[in-house]
Amino acid sequence: MIIYLLLSETHAGSNGEDKMDDRLPYNEIIDVCLLAGKIMLQNGAETSRVEDTMVRIAAAFGCGESHSFSTPTGIIFSLDGMHPASKLIRVSQRSTDLHKVTLVNSISRSISNKEMSPEEAYIRLKQIEKAGMGYPMWVQVFAAFIASGCFLIMFQGQWSDFIWSCIAGAMGFSCLLYLHWLLEVRFFAEFIASLVVGLVAMFFVQIGVGSNLDTIIIGAVMPLVPGLLITNAARDLIAGHLVSGLSKGADAGLTALAIGAGISAAFVFL
């Protein structure tokens, strides 16, 4: 409600005072908007949030009429009014870092509250873009380790298999991280990671320490599941962003297929 009021106020303001319009730093505003959108899109925000944030930042800086079109691979942003201008930005690398999304979100909130100038916002956004916000590698692998074991219990596995599922899950996940860093082809990384999960689980069952192969594999494969893609695809489709929703859905489907293929390939070795 407050934001709605703000939007309508700034809009009225920019229409009423055309003289002021000339002094607005249009290029900087576009740069700030695009940078904010780029960081969000690269780190796993849903499309509607990206577009909404960009339009709101522009409105807070006094450009009431702006348009943003974003797909998973690029953003087009344009300002209307006295000085129409458009810019395109290409997003080629995507990862998952929701902390950065949260930070950009709070910056956009303080811009909306008029607490930040375009230059200041740009510097802050650049800092966020460069910073390595994520948890350290070993913490992530440890999280995958614990999650695998917990999923084993949730899927009615035995406690005696707990540690084996943990180890298989951690090995699969570290394999995924390594291959993501090494290769450009994401699906191949997921394929190999789930193959490793399957082989490690089979090894444990073969040497007699693990008892139930199925539950060990299901638990250990869970850290590879493209959960963020699935939820984002659903949310984008709900919000009517058909292009992004469908392409993210296809991405999630392909990832799931790669994981399935990896596990099936492991069964061939059995």
Partner: protein, 148 residues
């Protein structure tokens, strides 16, 4: 049941770490995931169809995520993702895959169809929650407007 509560909490929070969720939101992530999973688990234990159970838990997860997102002023995705993860039909898709590999296509296609139904149920749960959220905000906005 207690083991389920604890493991689902830890698993959801661990997924938060994998997705690089901010540290101070991890607890809420675990909580959302735990609630969704326990609802699902209890419904399935009482022999309710797993599709309905998934739909109901996805709905609850999304509603609580919306509450948390408003309360802590963070993007809703953070809570949604961790809550949805336990509901993903990993076991069923594994079974389907196993039957595909074993050339048992009749069973495999049946299982795959069920996986699609469950995935659809998750999406429908999210949609219902979103619709309800919009209705509530519209209603509140109208009340504010009438007062002023």
């Amino acid at each position: 049941m207690i083991a389920q509560l604890i493991t689902s909490f830890i698993a959801s929070a661990a997924f938060g770490v994998i997705f690089n969720v901010p540290k101070n939101s991890l607890f809420q992530c675990g909580f959302v995931g735990m609630l969704g999973w326990i609802l699902y688990f209890a419904l399935v234990e009482n022999e309710i169809n797993s599709i309905i159970a998934t739909l109901a838990s996805a709905f609850i997860v999304a509603v609580i995520s919306q509450y948390f997102a408003k309360r802590y002023k963070t993007p809703i995705t953070i809570f949604n993702v961790s809550g949805i993860i336990p509901l993903v039909p990993g076991g069923l898709s594994y079974d389907a895959m196993k039957h595909f590999v074993g050339n048992d296509f009749y069973v495999a296609v049946q299982l795959a169809a069920k996986v699609f139904m469950l995935a659809g149920a998750i999406a429908m749960g999210l949609i219902f929650a979103e619709v309800m959220n919009q209705l509530v905000t519209k209603y509140n906005r109208r009340k504010v407007r009438l007062r002023s």
